[in-house]
Symmetry: D4
Subunit: 250 residues, 8 copies
């Protein structure tokens, strides 16, 4: 948000030209910072309970550093996804508190950790799906959700999944991550009465078409109550799961 405009707004409030409510209303709309290559949305944290997250792919190292600098100046915690190790090296030089979750490829800068609440269960069909699951886990824990995981429990050995039934029953929300045939969410959706968020991954080859096969399986799931996010989108699944996990009663 432009200083001048903020100053003018507050001036109007002080001279009673506008009401407190009107000032609040405008503050909801105004505060973003235009730095040429990016328009940083400083108040997303207040509007959506989640600060602007930096998706690193397609951004240069110096753009990422600059965006982080501006957000930090405003005291905002940082989540930077799809961050390559060299990006982390650069960020670390500026921010000693920066922490890198390697499997998840996420950089987190947080002044204090949140107390975990609720219960989100993340399942993967295979070992290769773990990086996407970890993107979800790190995001959820940074946002303040409690997370359980059960990895490599695909239906090729159904007893592995049936053995996790207690975890399934205990969860408030489930994130099910699977590539190749993508059948795990359908099976989990048939066993549980909780919201299931299915995440297809690019794991596979040939007619898996980089995750499209798994995506289609999940969209066509015979089990009701399953919704789907983009291929490899562990972050998006986590944000949605966090919103559901932290709901109060109606």
């Amino acid at each position: 948000m432009n200083d001048q405009r903020l100053r003018k707004l507050l001036g109007s409030l002080r001279t009673r030209k506008i009401s407190v409510e009107a000032a609040l209303e405008r503050l909801k709309i105004l505060p973003y910072e235009d730095i040429g290559f990016a328009s940083i949305d400083h108040h997303r944290l207040l509007r959506q309970g989640l600060a602007e997250v930096i998706y690193c792919e397609g951004k240069t190292e110096s753009q990422i550093i600059e965006i982080i600098r501006r957000l930090r100046r405003a005291g905002t915690p940082i989540i930077a996804t799809r961050a390559a190790p060299n990006v982390f090296e650069a960020v670390r030089r500026q921010n000693k508190r920066a922490k890198y979750h390697e499997a998840a490829r996420i950089i987190v800068i947080q002044d204090r950790e949140k107390r975990p609440t609720g219960n989100v269960l993340i399942l993967t069909a295979g070992t290769s799906d773990i990086p996407v699951a970890e993107e979800a886990r790190v995001t959820l824990e940074t946002l303040g959700s409690r997370v359980c995981t059960a990895y490599d429990v695909g239906v090729a050995g159904l007893h592995r999944l049936l053995d996790k039934q207690r975890l399934v029953q205990a969860a408030r929300v489930l994130i099910v991550v699977a590539g190749m045939d993508g059948v795990l969410p359908s099976v989990v959706g048939g066993l549980s009465d909780k919201p299931v968020i299915a995440v297809p991954t690019h794991t596979g080859y040939g007619a898996s078409f980089g995750g499209v096969a798994a995506l289609l399986t999940m969209l066509n799931s015979c089990a009701a109550g399953v919704a789907v996010v983009n291929i490899d989108n562990g972050f998006g699944a986590a944000v949605l799961a966090h919103r559901i996990n932290t709901m109060g009663k109606p």
Copy 2:
């Protein structure tokens, strides 16, 4: 569930061969009814809070009637989706309480209506998306969720949507239904901090590819916290929304 097996199970319980807990455990697995062309899942209501729903497409009229007869005998409320008017006529002859929601193409047979709880908002981008939205609304109300609707508020006239902001803020969960370019969920997702379930519809022509364009838009939504169900799947969105809407606090 086969009578014989049930009888034997209860016998074992009575003669203390098995514990109450063991009997419960098995009852969770057993009760379905094999009628040749269908295996009716009588205890889904208990397992998932939602009785088996009849998807009418691809089933003959007599198959539908028979499935309803069996479910009714077990006292289960009926939701039959994608039901053509002639199917309803046939069902009505057997069940005087059957009610037909024409736009939604749903048949409902319910002994008493549930008291609505929570608050689900259903938005559509255009008038042509209403049938899918109605499938969601009827399902939600039958399951016991309170529903608000705001139809035809697509971004071609953005002020129509901005005018509904109060409804958006008040909702616990949002279902956003859109065909053609499918952009409404992205815009709503940017305005709200609640779970958003996006439903693409087949509305459109040419490069909309029967809803694929809208589906892709939604899967790629820049707004986090948006998940997607199959094209025209108002029912699936409703089941998921109901589960979220009725959650207690963590």
Copy 3:
């Protein structure tokens, strides 16, 4: 096979110009009948253990009648797939022994039924998949395989499938028919050590793309030992299953 050529061949044999073996060799190649719009392969029965099957779609009623007439003259049993009821009416007028399997849309003319051998289990995920399963069943039984069926045992109610475990263990070959998400073959493939033939069906809507979603799921199945045939190709699955079912020991 042209009469003249046959006459000449047999003449050569009689005058010892060629050996018996040579005559046999040529007879393997020659016998088909050119009737303009079709080249009827009279000796496929001997070469492949399966007479030429008539795929009715795209053929006119009179073409079908004529092909049947020629095959019957050679004493060949008839299997005509994808036959509409009106085609059967026309065929019935000429062949009183013709039998119509309505759900399977198959016409069979057979002088005597074969004694069933082996054990093929056909499973379907839903009720809407039954017509494709019936195409497989009728084909298998006409060819002489014993068939068991378990219909509507999809994973939305996993206990229905687990309850059929004994049937699954008893089968020599399994045909698993599923539309929509097409996950059933993956789950069955994880439970069984027998050859599994997966048949995707066009059942579904939206992103099922007329069976493509189910097809891809099956091609990407994490369970090894699963092979796939074309969408709705119950007949092809049956022929393959019959070949496997009737194998002797190595």
Copy 4:
């Protein structure tokens, strides 16, 4: 254009065998230069107000150098798009005036800059879309259009866009560049009554399919008055915008 032919044409004019008008007419058709691997269209500048632009991908360094040499000999300004840095190095050695726009990947050689006219606004949804926007900006400015930019104003933070409304109202033409869900042109199209040229970018992952998702969103835009160019085609959008921007009144 072949020298001989040109000489003959001018001879005919001088000896009054043809009129001035006829000579002009033919000159419109003739002048291109065949150099084996390329047929350089020297008079496109006159015919279309835009000299032949060199698309560098798929051409060798020496081919590009040679084409530039021929065009320069004819005094034509140069725009070379999709030029890698090493191509620029090579060009620079031959042409000291050559200028490289790094983000845009364009080489420009121009004897004098044109005075900017009109007003084209270029918007991007995200930071990753900037290279494509820059290809458009550099092209437009080289051709002589005045350009404003507003980058990273996607709908995830709608207020950022609403804050740019004055720029939107002031523009004669708009170029809207977006990847991922590609929704920005639809929203801008609903706010403006000016021609909107939508440019999808390859930004995104998974089901963005290298820009196809954004392309489809734009083709299906509910806002009328939006047309689309190829994925990442900032250059094409700029040429069209320049033609519209420089139109006189009807």
Copy 5:
């Protein structure tokens, strides 16, 4: 716009609670009419120079009639596209001035025709592309643009197109409509220095994929200055062409 809200707004103005400017600002946002199945955007005419157009497909006859009634009450001219003849019959019964353009499938209700301005040329490759061209023509003429047409001038007989060169040179904007291989816009784009709007049509068979082949041809056009709209979208092309055609000088 809701009466109550309008009344209150104007009251505030009269009692000087708000300024004239503020009232104007709000009027820009407010005036739409919520009639349950549609939110009629009454001030789009002022905001975009084009009243809300009714896209008839997917709307019921009575919905269309009601929307027209509301728009007419506000004195708005009507353009209803993709209108089947029976829809026109119904509309005609209510509005005697309604006029039906059969090839274009458009209903127009207009109090007085506008004086034509500028010059838009519409070309088609074949006879089968004419309905889409007519949708564009009727829309343009209703909006007030002057239109020329040259139909069936595809490149299979290139001289037909070359013969129209004078029309091509005279136009301010060109709409080029083509199905099958969709090459006409590329050729026209190479001949003209005016904005070219390409409209693919569904004309063709086999690998034309309902217009996708033509769409791709146009998106990949080697001629710069060509933009594309959705398959069969004559209306969208017309709105964009009208905006360009009616521009004043910079």
Copy 6:
């Protein structure tokens, strides 16, 4: 061709303003007839050895009748493809010599039949491919090529094809028509050293995708010397085959 322009051209010739050669040159360009919905290319017969052929799909009955009337007035023989029976009825009423080839769906009006030359062999894989083959046969025979056919010789019974080897060796050009897996052209291409034109048909179901599977098979043929036309395009294959069949020696 416009009368006026023709008159002027001939006047110029007569008054020696232009040479005979110049007049010829212009006549090559000019003669087409603009009848509003079509631009009839009267001299294609001279330019390409093939009069303009009427593709009936997407044209109204009266448009077809009018185009035929104009072409007949110029003495041109008629080939009208994809003509429904009712179109033929209408044409027949005007032209008693019109002949309808039902399987091929072609109307021919010809003053005298041409003497057949050369030798084109048309093969089909199945009976369902015959209509496309017949479109090719009728076109070829009308143009003056001699045609042999061998229908239903697909590789499921390879001996049927091997038995036709003499026909294959005798042909100058081969047209191979196949749907479903589309393998016949690859096999024929391996046996022959003549040009092979492959025509995929829409025959099949499921993953044949309306002929796409066969089209891809043919485009990827391991046998060199095979080229492909559009799905079901028997006409196009015939025109190309006729051109090759009637070539003189180099």
Copy 7:
């Protein structure tokens, strides 16, 4: 399988709390080992006659080593597919008996080789398809099937295939591997009456789409009795072929 649980189970057996049969039943379900990033299915060997196979792609070197270590500890033979040479180097360091099949990219660790049984014939269309065929061959031989191969016998030189007829007749099961047009399985399927497993490969370019063209050809095969596995899935084909090859008589 968790030690504690195993101990408890056996304790129950010893104290006669459960029957031998019940213990067996549970042992079928329980034994898998959860090592965080993988859930190793130790009893798959018993359940399916095939130990858990390690698919190396997407797993880190250390994950692979650890999984092998755990499986070896249980005495299980190892098959690790899609193993890069560097993975083998690492495995070799731990297991001196590890053997690398380079063309097949498979690591095998086996205590003693099995005696080969039955007869599986593997055919390839070209030389480039050999790596996939070798993946099948090595898998089959490790499992205990006897294998014959005939490589590079595609239909471009049909006599090469016909010359292998004796091998074809002798086989119990056939695996046919082909890229590009993928026609070989159709031709083989027409010659043989044995189960044919078709494996498409990614061999080819352009419209082969990484094996999709071959996959579609095979799915649409006119020859009955052909089933298909995923592109390049030599392993899956081998497992299925082994199951069929080792069947006893019905």
Copy 8:
């Protein structure tokens, strides 16, 4: 061909067990050489007028060297396509006469050049299409066809093509190579009455989908007499063009 078999065949001939004709017949079928990884088809030269061509992609260097060695031993001329420079280096070491056509990526070993016959014209739309055109040119010249070329004559500057009309009229066959929008074959097909072979190339970006857009344009060409080969398949186009070019009169 196996020595033993050849010896036996010739022995039979010498002892008059078989006739000369029979020996010839068998020689047509037998001679191929099985070298494990390849089955070299030594008599394709006689059967098809074209020796087996080596497609280098997917083959190892040593495999290529060995195949060449065997073919050379039989005195066969070599065409090796898609050969990388390092492959040529290796081949050159063994064969001093080997010649490398760099742009075409073809290795040729020929004892004497053939006298060129006929006239094939190769056109390209752009400079980037030249490598594919060169693959066709080198193949044609090696086979003995005379070739003319006109490169970079795409329709963006139509006069360049019109200027080449004399070349177009003089050719017996045309190969038209184009990427991006792929429109050149349609335009050329409208100007010429000769066989036109269209070759799509992968040139382009975004929605060109690696040549699919150009391929579709060509398959849907409105000009009859155009057939298409695979993307980038200059070799296949050349073989077909050579067959047509060298035809004698009917």
